[in-house]
Assembly symmetry: C2
């Protein structure tokens, strides 16, 4: 089985490729070839599986056509300009997130010999925009409040239409906010949800810019990888034409996050969180989803690894910190 990953150098992409390399298989099929694309060179994994690394932009139509010409069996489309950058650079966001997605699906269609790969498209809860109910259900409308969310909602519509027409076999998965995000603190407005866990566990101070009653929707990186694997291997014959699915997650307030950190790592770790309200971030976060009902995804077999926010913290300590932290 030949697997193409677009956006393989991103956080979720890297973790997904690691898992794929470790498993050596996707569902019941051996992985016999991997093609890893990103705009910055993805790291070549240490594996006996033949891996091709391609550095290009998904908005380079010819480059995308070349990737698809090899007829990969499964395509993971994780390539995207993230929310903040798509908002700041309007053209770039539309070029990568909308045109790039169209180049991909049109390249698949152009093969035209019955080639119909599974395409897993990572969408986002950013397709929803306030006001919304406390729990967003599977049939709630998509009214994004960012260009990124708009481009993801359009991607979902395209994936569903191309699937309905039999041109590919697509599944769009709306990822919760990934927590705990490894790496350095970033300036994304959502960064603090991870920062307040990751930094204190590393012995560093973290700033909490919102109040503890802010509620949000989370999934661990391990769960995100699990969603991708399931979306690639699930039986799509009974799903029907509605191919966009809100993924399961965990709804927690910041206060609950902090309480979990205290339970898992102790009060000395939690004490490294400094409350410093930022009205701008407070305002942005007020427009974000807080909780979901994801019956459809659950019924289709999507599951999270974590059952509690304590689990999310433990997964971070296991997967990123080698099992230890600065107490």
């Amino acid at each position: 089985m030949h697997i193409l990953v677009l956006g393989a150098a991103g956080m979720v992409g890297r973790k997904f490729v690691e898992r794929l390399t470790r498993d050596g298989r996707l569902g019941k099929s051996d992985v016999t070839r991997m093609t890893l694309q990103d705009v910055v060179a993805p790291t070549k994994p240490n594996t006996s599986i033949p891996v091709e690394v391609v550095t290009c932009d998904v908005a380079e139509q010819a480059a995308v056509a070349k990737l698809v010409a090899a007829k990969p069996d499964v395509i993971f489309h994780l390539a995207a300009i993230v929310s903040g950058e798509a908002e700041a650079d309007f053209d770039k966001g539309y070029r990568i997130n909308l045109d790039g997605t169209r180049y991909l699906i049109d390249a698949i269609r152009a093969i035209g010999d019955g080639y119909k790969p599974r395409v897993v498209f990572t969408s986002s809860i950013a397709v929803f925009g306030a006001p919304f109910p406390e729990k967003i259900g599977d049939e709630f409308f998509t009214t994004p409040l960012t260009s990124y969310g708009t481009q993801k909602a359009i991607g979902e519509l395209l994936i569903s239409d191309y699937t309905r027409k039999g041109l590919l076999d697509g599944v769009s998965i709306r990822l919760p906010t990934i927590c705990v995000r490894p790496g350095l603190p970033n300036k994304a407005a959502s960064g603090f949800f991870s920062n307040i866990i990751r930094e204190p566990l590393a012995g560093k101070e973290a700033i909490l810019p919102v109040s503890e009653d802010v509620r949000h929707w989370h999934a661990s990186p391990r769960s995100a990888v699990g969603f991708l694997l399931h979306a690639a291997t699930m039986d799509t014959s009974t799903i029907g034409p509605r191919r966009a699915l809100s993924m399961p997650g965990l709804s927690a307030t910041v206060g609950e996050q902090i309480a979990a950190l205290t339970r898992v790592a102790g009060p000395s770790v939690t004490a490294r969180i400094r409350h410093q309200p930022d009205p701008t971030i407070v305002g942005i976060v007020a427009g974000w989803p807080r909780d979901f009902v994801t019956d459809r995804a659950l019924k289709l077999g999507f599951t999270t690894t974590e059952k509690t926010f304590d689990d999310i913290i433990r997964i971070h300590i296991e997967d990123e910190l080698g099992g230890t932290f600065v107490s």
Copy 2:
């Protein structure tokens, strides 16, 4: 006030231009110039208002840019490949309905001197796809079952995002099925809703391919024109970023349509309807919306001319048949 109408030669476009010409004004402003575009030459209305007729395709990017370069105050974007054709000719549908819409809004954005026209985009109830509740509410999700519906849903998302970014002032209006559609019977699956009224009133036989309990969502051409006028003149400052609105309409079963025809025109007219079930059409129509709750549009001042299906028939007799019919 300079008004640009894209798709001016279509049924709704023609009626809209007639009304605009007759009124000589849009809201409180005199119409001082009209530009009428379509892929087939729109008829030049008989008016003292300066009118330019442009025959081009909305997927001709340079031609669209030229139309926008004149900085019309209000743009009505009615140009579209209809449902059946967009389904049959996949490329053409995406080229006109998606690329054409992007060319328009990107041309507006490219002006870049603070130009921010009102843009009225005609969307459709085809953005919804079965299964849905008996009455579709304002917050129900869009899961189109045609490429046309997909392209309209994408257009709505784009109009809302460009509006949110301050690049234009857009309103997307989801038109009900227009009934009674004047002209010759067409082969659209929805054609019979109009055929069974229009043909008998003209002394001709009409075929009814579905059962009388089929329920659907209608508005008269006069109401459609009214929606366009209101969308162009309403105060958008309080609408917020959700710029796609399901228009009010009238829900009626085919049986209720026929009963109305009997009341308005007599049983000898109704007798010209021949029941001849067509399983293909029955299947297609089963996936169509039947009824809506359009609280948002009503609250924003959109209204229908007709209160009953009898009114819809009377409007047709008045506007299309000079007040008479073949009894």
